[in-house]
Structures are given as C-alpha cells and as structure tokens.
C-alpha cells in the first residue's frame, strides 16, 4: 500500500496506553536503553566511529546546535515543499479518479506498480534535471515519494463509502458535487490523514537521501554524509538526531491536525466518553 513505511493504526496507539501510569514502562525502557548503550560502549571500549557514546552525541549536538539547526531547517524546507507538492497533487488526482472511475481503473495498476519500485533511485535524476544546488531537485524527489501513498489512501477513502450513504443522498436528489462535499470527502478524511502521516516521513527521507546524491553544504544530508565519510561519526550521529527530531515534530503536527479534524471518528471514542 505504501512505500517504505506504514501508518501506525490507531488501535496500536491504544495499545500503547493513554494514562500517565501506562507510560512508566516506556520511560524505564528509555533510561535502561540509554544507560546500557553508554555502559556497553564504555565497558567494551567500542571504537567511537562505530557507535559513539550517547553522551558524546549529546555533547556534539549541543556544541553544534546552531549549525545543525540551520542545516536542519534548510533540509526541512525542501521536505516541506515536496510534501506540499506531492500530497496536494495526490489528493487532486484522487479526487479526479473518484469522480471519473474508468480513469482510476485504467491508472491504478500503474500506481500499484509504481509503488513497488524503489522510487528513491530517481533521486540522482532529479539532481541532474533541476541542478544539484537547486532545492527544487530535493523537493521533486520528496514530492514523488509522497504522491503515491497520499493518492492511493485518498482514493480508497473517497470510494469506500457505504452504498446506502450514497442512496440516502440520492433520495434527497443531491447532486454529485454535494455527494462529494457531504459524504465522500468527510468519509475520506481519516484515510487522507493516514497517507499524509506516511508522507511526512517519506518527505524527510526524500530530502535527505536526495542530498546524499549531492547538494549544497548548507544541507543536513550533505553534512551527515561528509561527516561519516571522514570518520566523524559522533558529528554524523548528531546530524541524525536533528533529522529525527524534525521528522518526529513533522509527524506529530500532522497527527495533531488529524486529531483536531477527525475528532468525530469512532476510533476517537476514548477521548469523548468517560
């Protein structure tokens, strides 16, 4: 259905727990994990370039925070541009397909095939097309990566409407546009967000991997690659931390938007009752 990553279903969210007490095991695992990592690196004298100590990564992150921040923002802008482009186009195409089904029937096999190919391999092509230093080259690859999951999920949402929901609108002699506005689009919202959440991660991956194939020195991906090829693994890890933080925040913002716009959804039940 999607490339690389899959949406986290809400049911999984429920299994994680929602009260403060439920989070204790998670916090414990975090502390134990970091502690064990530090302990193992120290105890077995693991060479720094393989796995730096968490404290070393933390230190590197802190001392380079302003550079990391500006590099992170540079890359994040590329990701965001691609995200807007790819997701927007994905939703538009899905609307078009849902309005004209034969079109969808003809194109869907290709969408499935496109989903099965490693699209990221096109990153160097984008760099050649739009220029290494042009941020649009990264936006393009991020956009292509975002397009398919958003389009496929949106289309699924627009078309997986209960037949009697449509019959009801027919009984009111409602027009096609009205059916879209009042039934198909609201029905698709949870699906659209599933696609949009997957796309956040894909857009970050697209931007960073695009930079691995060449980009300006101001970009985070270029910094990570340079640091690791010169053996500065601690600095490279600090870059990864920055990329991860941006990725998590991006995902969280979209998840929050989902929570706000689909609070009516039955899976939000827990937040309404009791």
């Amino acid at each position: 259905m999607s490339t690389i990553v899959q949406p986290v279903p809400r049911s999984v969210g429920r299994q994680i727990g929602r009260t403060a007490l439920d989070w204790i095991p998670a916090v414990a695992v975090f502390a134990i994990g970091i502690g064990a990592w530090q302990g193992i690196v120290v105890a077995f004298h693991i060479q720094e370039f393989l796995l730096p100590k968490p404290t070393a990564i933390g230190h590197a992150f802190w001392t380079q925070k302003s550079v990391l921040w500006s590099q992170g923002i540079y890359t994040f802008k590329e990701a965001l541009g691609g995200y807007a482009l790819g997701s927007g186009l994905g939703i538009l195409v899905a609307l078009l397909f849902a309005a004209w089904r034969p079109l969808a029937g003809a194109f869907m096999p290709y969408a499935v095939a496109a989903n099965a190919i490693p699209i990221i391999a096109f990153a160097p092509i984008m760099n050649n097309w739009f220029g290494l230093l042009n941020p649009f080259s990264k936006m393009a690859i991020a956009g292509v990566l975002c397009f398919f999951p958003v389009m496929i999920n949106t289309l699924r949402g627009l078309t997986s409407v209960h037949p009697s929901s449509i019959e009801l609108m027919q009984s009111y002699a409602a027009g096609r546009l009205s059916v879209f506005r009042r039934v198909r689009i609201p029905n698709a919202l949870p699906h659209i967000f599933t696609g949009l959440k997957v796309a956040t991660v894909l857009s970050m991956i697209g931007a960073i991997v695009g930079e691995y194939f060449g980009g300006p020195i101001e970009a985070l991906g270029v910094k990570i690659l340079n640091d690791s090829s010169y053996g500065n693994f601690t600095d490279a890890w600090a870059g990864i931390v920055m990329a991860s933080l941006l990725g998590i925040v991006f995902y969280a913002v979209v998840a929050l938007a989902e929570r706000l716009t689909t609070s009516w959804h039955p899976s939000a039940r827990a937040f309404h009752t009791e």
């Binding site: 990553v5 986290v8 998670a26 050649n128 991956i205």
Partner: protein
C-alpha cells in the same frame, strides 16, 4: 403519466469483453502511452526550448530507444554489454535485500508474538517501535555501512542489516494487529476447548494474522530493495545497483542512458520482489484476499 422506458443493460459491449483480455491489453497499452508521453514531451520541449521546470535536452531526457540500446552497449571496448553488469549487480543487491528481508521479517514476526503476550513489554517497547518509523531510517544507512565496514564486517552484511531494519517495522506492527484481530468470541471458543496460550497462538492467532502479515510483507518487499540500494551508495560497495547508480551518476552528462538503464533495473528488481510476495500470498492464503491495513 410517465412511461419508464426499458432500461438498457448497464454493461454493454464492454462487459462482454473478457476481463482477462482487457487486462492483458492494459500493459502494452500503458507502456505505449508512457512512451508517447515521454517522446511527445521531449519533442515539444526541445522545439520550444523549455527550461521550466527543467531543461529539456538529450541529456535530461534521452530517447527511450537510446536507453533500450544502452542495455546492449559494452561499457568498455570489447567488454560485455551493460545488461551483463546490471544482471550481476541486481543479483548482488537482490541477495542483500533478500537476506535483510528474511531477517527483518523473522525478527518482526517473533517480536510481535512476544509483544502480543506481554502488556508490560508492549507499553515499554511499542512507543519506540512507533517513533522509530517517524525517523528517516535511511539517513542512518551510511553510518551503519561505514561503521560496520570498519569493524571488518563483510559490507554486504551491513547493507542487509539496513534492509532488515526497513522490513522489520511494518511486519512487527501488522503482525501485532493480526494477532489481536480474532474476535473475543473466537477466543472464548478456544478456551471452551481448554486450549492453552500456545494452542490459541498456533490455531487461532497466527492463522488470523496471516493476511495482515502478507500485507506488511508486500510493503517490506520493496522497502528491503530500497534499503539495499541506498545502503550501498555511501559504502562504495562495488558490485551492486546502488554502486552503479553512484557510478553512472558521475558520467550522467555524457552517458545519461546508463543511469536510466540502471534505474530501470532497480525498478524491475523491486517489482520482482513485490510479485514474489504476492505469489507466495496466493499460495499460502487460499481464502479470498482481504483488504487489511
């Protein structure tokens, strides 16, 4: 008075055409359309000197026939043709991806079985498993490959580890959902037979999870290929498709067709993996395919 005319049958001639024939027609038709779009855009772009969104020329959009010919062209004088290299590159990358795919799928499945039985572990580990997918995992690829490489680990194993990581997540999450999918009543039925945890797992939970597992494996199949290709790029690990991409990318301005041919090889490898899982699913799941995940 309204005389409602006899409604013509909705499915006219189109419905009468055998569906299989229509499907068989779709592939060459689609490829032809793609070819037409490419060549048409190219022709218009070159005539009109289009520079937006990118400059249309022989380098950026080589003739598709040139890309096709590139497969047969030798890389060095008197050497074997490109397709010979690409075939071996694809085998190499496929081996890494397959090893990673198998490793990731097994670990993901086992972890899901463990998590399905322990609320404490679920609460402790699941948040990190979930958060780990919001992290651009591929960004760590160079680190893992270069890092493990310096420790004398065979580089292809390091690449397989990345492929495994990308496979692991969807399998773990989906298997967990699948193991929890049986209805309470199905569980009560098993308990009424005095079935223990182990029996419930093998007779009920695992069979119920299979459709979920396969829908994850289909995602992971492509993900493992992506992981292998990207894992190869920083390591200058010779002999794989990722290496070929980096290599041909450097000569793009003079020989663009080689890079395009390599990307087509990547696409074919990804589709092969995907189709292999679909085939496996058909063989294992005899029931009607379900739409899960």
């Amino acid at each position: 008075m309204s005389a409602i005319a006899v409604e013509p049958s909705r499915r006219g001639i189109v419905g009468a055409l055998p569906r299989a024939a229509a499907r068989a027609l779709l592939l060459p038709l689609g490829l032809a359309a793609l070819w037409g779009l490419w060549e048409g855009y190219r022709w218009l772009g070159i005539r009109g000197h289009w520079t937006w969104p990118f400059k249309v020329n022989d380098t950026n959009m080589p003739h598709l026939s040139k890309i096709w010919h590139a497969f047969g062209q030798p890389l060095q004088p008197d050497g074997p043709p490109l397709r010979h290299y690409l075939w071996h590159y694809a085998l190499f990358t496929g081996k890494e991806a397959l090893a990673g795919f198998a490793l990731g799928a097994v670990i993901g499945f086992l972890l899901a079985v463990v998590l399905a039985h322990s609320t404490l572990l679920r609460r402790g580990l699941l948040p990190y498993i979930v958060v780990s997918q919001t992290v651009p995992i591929l960004a760590i690829a160079p680190m893992v490959v270069l890092g493990l490489g310096t420790k004398g680990v065979n580089p292809w194993v390091a690449v397989a580890v990345i492929a495994a990581y990308l496979t692991f997540f969807p399998v773990a999450i989906n298997t967990l959902r699948g193991l929890h999918s049986p209805e309470p009543r199905a569980l009560e039925l098993m308990r009424s037979y005095a079935a223990g945890r182990w029996k419930i797992l093998w007779r009920l939970r695992v069979p119920a999870s299979l459709p979920y597992v396969f829908s994850a494996l289909k995602i992971s199949a492509t993900a493992s290929v992506i992981g292998a290709i990207i894992g190869e790029t920083p390591a200058s690990l010779q002999g794989g498709l990722g290496y070929a991409i980096v290599n041909f990318n450097q000569y793009y301005s003079t020989q663009p067709a080689n890079l395009w041919a390599t990307i087509i090889a990547c696409a074919l490898l990804g589709i092969t993996f995907f189709l292999a899982v679909v085939l496996l699913e058909r063989l294992v799941l005899k029931r009607a395919p379900e739409h899960v995940a």
